[in-house]
């Protein structure tokens, strides 16, 4: 994702000033970045620390300026059990997890912030079939709970399977918008490549 140069961002009626991740987090935007290992998690830190990567500022992970390591570990243990992360424990460094398990940790963390909007950038890239299934089911679950889901992907089958509404961008501009039920892979593909007749 690139920094914004113009325009405004409004989330649930609230205008964001842009460029400040902390403000976006506070406004209830959850974000699954494209670069899992390196942006989505701090690879050298434990799973437990990555689970509270955003929540470390408030209780129960911290009290005032003090961190509460035992509480953090408990939170991570709960995430591991609930999201079925395959690992030997919350102290394992994140880089040792497989792509699918890593994405479970990221999604678990992003959901735990009780978001109003979830932005997911290529959340299934590089995952195996089981991992893709899991991520899809979590995205669907979020949508049924009333969270707005903005899925950014280049996998057309994925988009048409998950989305209600498809917006296509080409060279930095929106070039088309379709109901997912009526859109076809050919049509969306043509728009993505800048095809004129599809508009």
């Amino acid at each position: 994702m690139r920094p914004a140069t113009s325009g405004t961002i409004r989330v649930a009626g609230r205008t964001l000033h842009g460029g400040d991740p902390r403000e976006a987090i506070a406004a209830g935007i959850a974000y699954v970045p494209e670069d899992r290992l390196g942006t989505g998690v701090a690879p050298g830190l434990s799973i437990a620390n990555n689970v509270v990567l955003k929540a470390y500022r408030r209780p129960p992970a911290s009290r005032g300026p003090l961190l509460l390591p035992r509480k953090i570990r408990d939170l991570a243990q709960r995430v591991i059990e609930r999201y079925d992360v395959r690992t030997s424990g919350p102290d394992v460094p994140a880089w040792q997890l497989s792509g699918g398990n890593l994405q479970k940790v990221v999604l678990a963390r992003e959901f735990s912030g009780e978001p109003v909007l979830l932005v997911a950038a290529s959340p299934t890239r590089g995952l195996d079939v089981a991992g893709i299934e899991t991520v899809h089911s979590y995205l669907r679950e979020a949508a049924t709970r009333g969270v707005g889901v903005l899925l950014i992907s280049e996998d057309l089958d994925e988009i048409l399977a998950l989305a209600d509404r498809v917006v296509v961008m080409y060279e930095g501009a929106v070039v088309g918008e379709r109901e997912a039920e009526r859109a076809t892979v050919e049509e969306v593909g043509l728009l993505m490549a800048g095809g004129e007749e599809a508009r």
């Binding site: 991740p21 902390r22 974000y31 390196g38 942006t39 990567l53 955003k54 500022r57 961190l67």
Partner: protein, 369 residues
């Protein structure tokens, strides 16, 4: 043969690797000693005696270790965040200058006030100097390794200038000798840092301050939100920004903290040991650079920094005692270098392992995982 990252680091490695490294170092040292016609075992015995066992040896070792603990902590604090402050050397000089100035200005003040303000002044001096590469790094993405390193030379020249090339406030200009042999003004007695003698071992205040700092740094980094942010940013700056952390502020804060610790080490040199601003002594000691080695050997762990500083202090102290007509200074340096080289080299095997495997020809395919 392949070198690969260890998936797990067994706890026993942390003990075994340094021990084996030392054994290897002594094996190399034996070869060097035999080649130069010295009895190896006798020499090792003398080395150990001079560092820890003989009368007053431990006191001298603590004297040598105290500045290394300060500069080691200073380096560890910054390196933990992948912020390579190489300027501990200059920041220590800066702290020595501001510390000495404060104590001279405070002549007549009661001792606790003088000592306390000296510490504050030393820490502030180091912090202000470190803030320069800190600001450059945080706001202009300048490489802090270069800027902090270059400032070392600047401050080394400043400290020389203050005593040798000018009639500054810090220079002793009274008396006949002062023009021939320039030196710093004697600091007031009230500014001499306290020390305690336990069974013949003299513990200077600076050593206790360094110990206290080690505990404080540990608590700061592992038990506070600030420390959490430092660890995240140190591991992946992008993850830090993604999580909404203020990376610039943290860079500046950590740089200043690192400089303040080194500066406190400079003030300790004034107050604990030298009792004047001593440019020659400080610039020849290379405490700042040795502190980087200490931090690396300690793997940036503050408690390990204190331990490593103590061991390296012993090695340095033994070096002074060992050298003489029959044992040239250069040979002492070779032995110290061998021990350091092996200790640092051994670190590789804590994080990586060597795997030997037979070549199976091009048909062999790695099993999918």
């Amino acid at each position: 043969m392949r070198i690969e990252r260890r998936l797990e680091q067994p706890r026993w490695l942390v003990v075994v690797v340094p021990v084996v490294s030392l054994v290897v170092a002594f094996a190399f040292a034996t070869v060097v000693l035999l080649a130069t016609h010295h009895a190896p075992l006798h020499t090792f015995r003398r080395l150990f005696d001079a560092a820890f066992l003989s009368n007053g040896a431990l006191t001298e070792t603590v004297v040598a270790a105290t500045p290394l603990a300060f500069t080691g902590l200073a380096a560890a604090v910054a390196f933990r965040m992948n912020l390579f402050n190489i300027g501990g050397e200059g920041q220590l000089y800066a702290g020595a200058i501001t510390g000495a100035t404060a104590s001279l200005l405070l002549a007549g003040a009661p001792s606790p006030v003088a000592i306390g303000l000296m510490m504050l002044a030393g820490a502030a001096g180091g912090a202000v100097l470190a803030a320069i590469p800190g600001i450059l790094r945080a706001f202009f993405a300048t490489n802090e390794i270069i800027t902090s390193l270059m400032l070392n030379y600047v401050v080394a020249l400043v400290i020389d200038y203050l005593i040798f090339d000018s009639h500054s406030y810090l220079r002793d200009t009274s008396g006949f000798q002062a023009n021939v042999f320039p030196q710093g003004k004697q600091l007031p007695d009230a500014a001499t840092w306290s020390s305690w003698t336990i069974h013949g071992l003299v513990v200077p205040l600076g050593a206790l301050v360094a110990l206290g700092l080690a505990v404080a740094v540990w608590a700061l980094y592992s038990r506070t939100r600030f420390g959490f942010e430092v660890r995240v940013i140190g591991d992946s700056a992008r993850a830090g920004r993604y999580a909404g952390m203020r990376t610039r502020r943290k860079i500046l804060a950590v740089m200043c903290l690192s400089g303040a610790i080194a500066g406190l080490g400079g003030a300790s040199q004034d107050g604990d040991f030298r009792h004047q601003l001593d440019p020659r002594g400080l610039t020849q000691a290379n405490y700042g650079y040795a502190g980087i080695v200490v931090a690396a050997l300690a793997r940036y762990n503050p408690f390990a920094v204190v331990l490593v500083a103590f061991l390296l202090g012993g090695l340095q102290n033994a070096g002074y005692t060992l050298q003489g007509a029959d044992f040239p200074n250069g040979l002492v340096g070779v032995l110290q270098g061998l021990i350091l080289f092996c200790a640092l080299g051994g670190e590789l095997f804590v994080r990586y392992r060597v795997r030997f495997e037979r070549r199976r020809g091009p048909a062999a395919v790695e099993p999918a995982s």
